[in-house]
């Protein structure tokens, strides 16, 4: 029982990071119908920024986190402007290929600048884990899960009640009609990328606290898993990305504990395949039939 609970907590830990990153995929997809494959590499950008701020510049953790967020947002917005915006009315495959290209560009640029050797992420917090009988929760886990939940609740509130959030929903449902309402969709798209990348920046910092090795390709795997989490929950649906992230994290962690560590990815992808076979729109996806 205690093994199960400990693994469940581990799963929630990694799952909340997947969820934060998945939000970026799903929000961008919702509005521009693009799988932004470079989103995973934003994690790497954030991680290097934090390492430089912490280790080279000697900044304190909150400032390093802030720097990571700012640089991630800057990268996200610039990538959208330079690489995706000119292709907005082109076939979707063009922007998809471009996204893969941007991902390779970021990885290889990092390889040239920082080298292939992973760099250690400095230890920021050194607080003993909290114990309840046989269950132990590390401080980082507690921090990661609670920060993620606070961010998700805030985001959900922003999307459902603020004017800018409603404009995002309107634009993601019907791009052209949103323009007819006087919504500046360019601003809305920029905001979407900015929010997604800010969350990725925070996610990257939390990720590095748990897995303290920073390398040029470190964003690929969490990026891929977050993308799968977004699809699992229903791409374009914000609560879906959160649910998908947690489901992925828990499934991965329990598989490692009970089945096999090497099988965990296979099990996670297997879950995705089964869910998509049974419900092609994802866990929270609806096949809507509307009156016209």
């Amino acid at each position: 029982m205690s093994l199960f609970l400990n693994q469940l907590i581990n799963g929630l830990h990694v799952g909340s990071i997947y969820a934060l990153i998945a939000l970026g995929y799903t929000m961008v997809y919702g509005i521009v119908k693009l799988i932004n494959f470079a989103h995973g590499d934003i994690i790497m950008v954030g991680a290097y920024t934090a390492v430089i701020a912490l280790a080279t510049l000697g900044w304190s953790a909150p400032f390093a986190l802030l720097a990571a967020i700012v640089i991630c947002v800057l990268f996200g917005v610039l990538i959208e402007r330079i690489a995706y915006k000119p292709l907005r009315s082109s076939p979707r495959i063009s922007s998809l290929i471009t996204a893969i290209g941007v991902s390779m560009l970021l990885q290889n640029a990092a390889l040239i600048i920082f080298g292939a050797q992973p760099q250690p992420f400095p230890t920021i917090v050194n607080i003993a884990p909290i114990r309840f009988n046989s269950i132990q929760i590390s401080f980082i886990t507690l921090l990661t899960v609670s920060v993620s939940i606070i961010l998700m609740v805030t985001l959900q509130g922003f999307i459902s009640s603020s004017k800018a959030g409603k404009a995002m929903r309107a634009a993601s449902e019907d791009y052209t009609t949103a323009q007819l309402m006087g919504i500046n969709v360019n601003t809305t798209i920029t905001l979407t990328f900015a929010i997604g990348c800010a969350l990725a920046g925070i996610g990257s910092f939390l990720f590095c606290m748990a897995y303290p090795a920073v390398s040029p390709t470190m964003g690929s795997l969490p990026g891929l898993k977050a993308f799968i989490a977004a699809v699992l929950g229903g791409i374009g649906i914000i609560p879906g990305a959160m649910l998908g992230g947690f489901v992925m994290g828990v499934a991965e962690s329990l598989t490692k504990a009970y089945i096999s560590t090497t099988m965990s990815d296979a099990v996670v992808y297997g879950i995705l395949i089964i869910v998509l076979l049974a419900k092609p729109t994802g866990l929270l996806g609806k096949t809507t039939s509307e009156k016209v």
Partner: protein
């Protein structure tokens, strides 16, 4: 108020509009009638800057608006009720109306206008918390019109408001269009239902394969032999 001068518009290699020129005066209801594919919706999308024109000039209140992005036009007082209503189906009736008022920041006045919309369309008030996708076709048309009014337009463009509605509802919608016009909003109406469109309009233009082939007062066109044959069933 609105003036189009020799507008050409292409979809790829296909020319949808050929040298379209017409104008709308303040306070008027002007109808564009024509068959499917004659270019009626293309004209509205050209004016709203949804689709770029390849040549010609569009003037709104004597300003050239060719190069302006769609959201600027809404701010200037040009609003469109798109074909097929296009309500935001996953948003509530209230949120749809709020989106209509997106360019405005005067929340007290927005509240007042919302009451005004509910006065025109009492059924929307009963359903204000409901998701727009669950409304009937007629209710969605009312919502799309109410949403457009929320921007306080000077010129309201409507694309096929009668599409897919029962004759009774069509009559109701056209009565409301007339009411809106009497409130001081100029109307540019695109319709296949030529009978209704001509009886309501002060003036009208007849479109055929991307060209304007006839124009005149609504009454005059209803008497016109060719128009009667082609659009009014003899």
């Amino acid at each position: 108020m609105l003036k189009l001068q020799e507008i050409d518009l292409f979809y790829g290699a296909i020319q949808a509009l050929r040298s379209i020129s017409f104008h709308v005066q303040p306070g008027e209801i002007v109808s564009l009638i024509g068959a499917n594919g004659a270019g009626k919706s293309s004209i509205l999308n050209a004016i709203s800057a949804i689709h770029p024109i390849s040549s010609g000039e569009i003037l709104f209140e004597n300003h050239s608006i060719n190069k302006l992005p769609p959201f600027r036009l809404v701010e200037m007082g040009l609003s469109q009720v798109p074909e097929g209503r296009r309500v935001f189906s996953k948003m509530s009736v209230l949120e749809n109306l709020e989106m209509g008022a997106f360019t405005r920041n005067d929340s007290l006045e927005i509240q007042k206008d919302m009451e005004m919309v509910f006065a025109h369309f009492p059924r929307l008030k009963e359903r204000k918390k409901q998701l727009a996708g669950t409304l009937s076709g007629g209710e969605q048309q009312m919502l799309a019109m109410g949403r457009a009014i929320m921007s306080r337009p000077k010129l309201l463009m409507m694309d096929e408001p009668s599409m897919g509605l029962s004759p009774l509802l069509v009559q109701e919608i056209f009565d409301i269009i007339s009411e809106i016009n009497q409130d001081g909003i100029t109307i540019l109406l695109v319709e296949q239902n030529a009978q209704m469109a001509l009886s309501l309009a002060h003036r009208a233009y007849v479109l055929e394969t991307g060209r304007i082939i006839k124009s005149g007062t609504g009454q005059a066109l209803m008497q016109d032999e060719d128009v009667r044959k082609a659009y009014l069933g003899g």
